[in-house]
Amino acid sequence: MSYFGDIYKGIKTLLTGMSVTGKYFLHSRKGAITQQYPDNRDTLKMFDRFRGEVVMPHDENNEHRCTGCQKCEIACPNGTIEIIWDRQIDPETGKKKKMIDQHIYHLGMCTMCGLCIEACPTDAILWAQNYENSVYDRTKLTKVLNQPGSKLMPGVED
């Protein structure tokens, strides 16, 4: 490339860059992405990919999708998830089957890496979008994800 060609190309690319940032500058009034948090506490809705904490959704019959396979427990790099399980008799088939008793999640140890959610084969656990997770007592950070008396949703294991 020639000397003057270099200069022409240099100025042109610099102006291209400036026009891009200039456009952002002009649109900043409408498109500001800053959330003025305590002010808009009532209306603030976190975006879908925000990682607040791990939750296990239950449907209206108090049924979850966790089969107790423990893949999330193995995938977790710092032992945040603990699954207490036992073999119970399945009332439908009458056979002994692995079932979860408690799916314990220590939010205080969680680094929000998301490996447990990727590992889950039945999509039993998901990210919640809540962001006010501070508590006054450390024990409140240890959560049992499955609700008391809940059972496995039929058809998940098929």
Partner: protein
């Protein structure tokens, strides 16, 4: 409306009524120095606020908006905080030079402000070598940076200071030569006369092609001389901590910080005076009211300050070798060619006069 704009004369005449001649002279100097110091400390703070707001808008943020209406008192609060902070330093620092360095920087940048004609006759010191004085003064500031980096006894500070030396010595040339190009048209170094000459059209119009080239070179070199991004290798945060002022805290740090912003204002103000007609209104629309010139001057200067900020929030930082290549292989030869071109245009009377 009749406002006396010649401040030096007015204050002198007021004081001469009460004091002897010498005392009135000294009193005038001190008063004007205090006025300028106060005005530009506040102006510097608001430039910092402007920078933060502009940066926020470029990055789709909101910026400071809590302290005062629209965040207008944010930098005042910051300055109060800095005043109340402890002045720390390293044990093995050269104490004398370490304490001296911030004053070099702030004094040199405040001295440069004295010669600007803010409007007709509103000028503290109408020196007949104005442009030369400005170039000379603006390169004294780098001594403060070098001293600060050297005396801190910190390797990051030293590297930052040395980079500053390299950068300022190189880009001084381009600033000086691009202003020299414009001096070929004006034929005078006195800033008030440079503005007078532009009543026939701003110099960027009078000098057309070479003037525009000179303006571009001046803005690039001026940005480099104030050590601002994309030429901010002096305080490159990702490499050097904070560069030459790593070891400074409290008010001494604030002096460096303020001086950087006042320097940016000075660079923009020189460009306004030399290229864009200083306090002259476009097409002379407010010529009958001279005090409006202050607003024209400030308006033009702030537009150029915005341009420098636009550079900062667009371009990535250069490497040292790229910086020197840009100066010695591109800006300097172009500048020399540009001077020849401008000389030809002035010689052949090809300037555009209204």
């Amino acid at each position: 409306m009749n406002i006396t704009l010649s401040i030096t004369k007015t204050i002198y005449e007021f004081l001469a009524g009460y004091l002897s001649n010498d005392a009135a002279n000294i009193g005038t100097m001190v008063t004007i120095a205090l006025i300028y110091l106060a005005i530009f400390a506040v102006a510097g703070l608001y430039l910092v606020l402007l920078e933060r707001k502009v940066a926020a808008w470029f990055q789709l943020r909101i910026g400071p908006n809590r302290v005062g209406f629209w965040g207008l008192l944010q930098t005042m609060a910051d300055a109060l905080k800095l005043v109340s902070k402890e002045l720390t330093g390293t044990v093995k620092a050269d104490k004398f030079l370490y304490n001296l360095a911030p004053y070099f920087v702030i004094v040199s940048s405040l001295m440069a402000l004295a010669v600007f004609p803010f409007t007709k006759e509103f000028q503290a010191f109408d020196i007949n070598i104005g442009v030369f004085f400005l170039i000379a003064i603006s390169s004294i500031g780098v001594i403060g940076i070098l001293l600060g980096g050297w005396a801190s006894n910190n390797k990051f500070a030293l590297i930052g200071a040395m980079r500053s030396g390299v950068q300022t010595i190189s880009y001084e040339l381009s600033v000086g030569l691009s202003l020299l190009t414009m001096i070929l048209i004006t034929g005078t170094l006195q800033l008030s006369e440079i503005v007078e000459i532009q009543k026939n059209g701003w110099l960027i119009v009078q000098g057309h092609i070479p003037a525009i080239i000179a303006f571009m070179i001046y803005m690039i070199a001026g940005t480099a001389e104030t050590n601002r991004a994309p030429f901010d290798m002096v305080e490159a945060e990702s490499e050097l901590g904070a560069g030459f002022h790593t070891e400074y805290s409290g008010m001494k740090f604030a002096y460096f910080f303020l001086a950087e912003f006042i320097n940016m204002f000075i660079i923009a103000a020189i460009a306004t005076t030399v290229f864009f007609g200083g306090w002259l209104s476009p097409f002379g629309i407010t010529e009958s009211i001279p005090w409006l010139g202050v607003f024209w001057f400030m308006g033009k200067t702030l537009v150029l300050v915005f341009l420098i900020m636009w550079f900062r929030w667009t371009f990535p930082r250069l490497r040292v070798d790229q910086l020197l290549t840009l100066e010695w292989k591109y800006l300097l030869p172009l500048n020399l060619l540009n001077i020849v071109l401008m000389a030809l245009i002035v010689w052949l009377n090809l300037t555009i006069q209204f």
